[in-house]
Subunit: 142 residues, 2 copies
DNA sequence: TTTAATTTTAAAATCATTGTAATTTACATT
DNA sequence: AATGTAAATTACAATGATTTTAAAATTAAA
């Protein structure tokens, strides 16, 4: 579904349709990256010069509560937001902090969790922790 | 391996052995919980009244860099630290923020990732996102 | 035991995120 | 189309987790 469709659907739940929200959601749906709140802010600012970071966070939290967005948090940086989880996971280097994609079909497990937990599962996130090839070489952390 | 063993091993890599570090690592290894930095701080303070939060973070980052610790970050709360990943994953409610354990044997996938990525994989984290039973009932977010 | 380097401490600084108060907007109801 | 009102936006202040700093203390190693 596109941004307009999602926002129209949310209207039935009392969420107002604003042009700022449309711009934010459209960007989230069209981008392949996992932008930070600040990156979204700068992008939306091109269309709406007066938009504030507060509005970005407000909209992201609203979308998250309604299950249209995954928030990916790392320890030492801003959260990143994923409007459409793709077929990949992430590997994080515990030494240098680098994050690389690991392409692989998503593990088919959400239904199992839904059946056993009573949650309505919207998606999952999987992250591998390790030491990247460069750090292994350069700093012999093995 | 126990705290002393790990710290002795780290000594070969130029990491100094201090009693504060020993106390922090011992607590991480013995606890079943996933404590925040502040919880670790208060616990270690019982033995070392003069210890500072700065030392806690310093030690946690050191352990993380050397792969002896997983940092679990959520969007809206402090990071939690896991000294020995147990047989469970987490489910996070996108609406109310609650985190519950989902007990299940860990997926056997680290070796595959290690072979394909060149990273030395130390562990993984899996988190399910959804709407918890209470939020589904009370607020009809389906 | 001496020395140099690292760690600790305590306090200040940083930065992502949230809260606030005033203004504006969306939208249901006239 | 005009109006009322609740919700959203804006600009800015506040919060709180984490990092940095500088000086003092402690550690490892010669």
């Amino acid at each position: 579904m596109d941004a307009i469709g999602i926002l129209k659907q949310l209207k039935d739940k009392g969420v107002r349709f604003t042009p700022q929200r449309q711009a934010i959601l459209e960007f989230l749906l069209e981008t392949e990256s996992h932008p930070t709140a600040d990156e979204i802010y700068h992008h939306v600012k091109a269309k709406f010069p007066g938009v504030s970071l507060g509005t970005i966070y407000n909209t992201l939290n609203m979308l998250k509560e309604h299950g249209h967005l995954l928030e990916l948090s790392y320890g030492d940086m801003s959260s990143r937001f994923d409007g459409n989880p793709k077929n990949h996971y992430h590997i994080v280097c515990s030494h240098c902090g680098r994050v690389v994609d690991y392409h692989r079909p998503l593990i088919d497990i959400d239904q199992e969790v839904m059946d056993n937990s009573g949650f309505k599962i919207l998606g999952h996130r999987m992250e591998f922790y390790g030491i990247c090839p460069e750090c292994r070489k350069g700093e012999r952390l093995n």
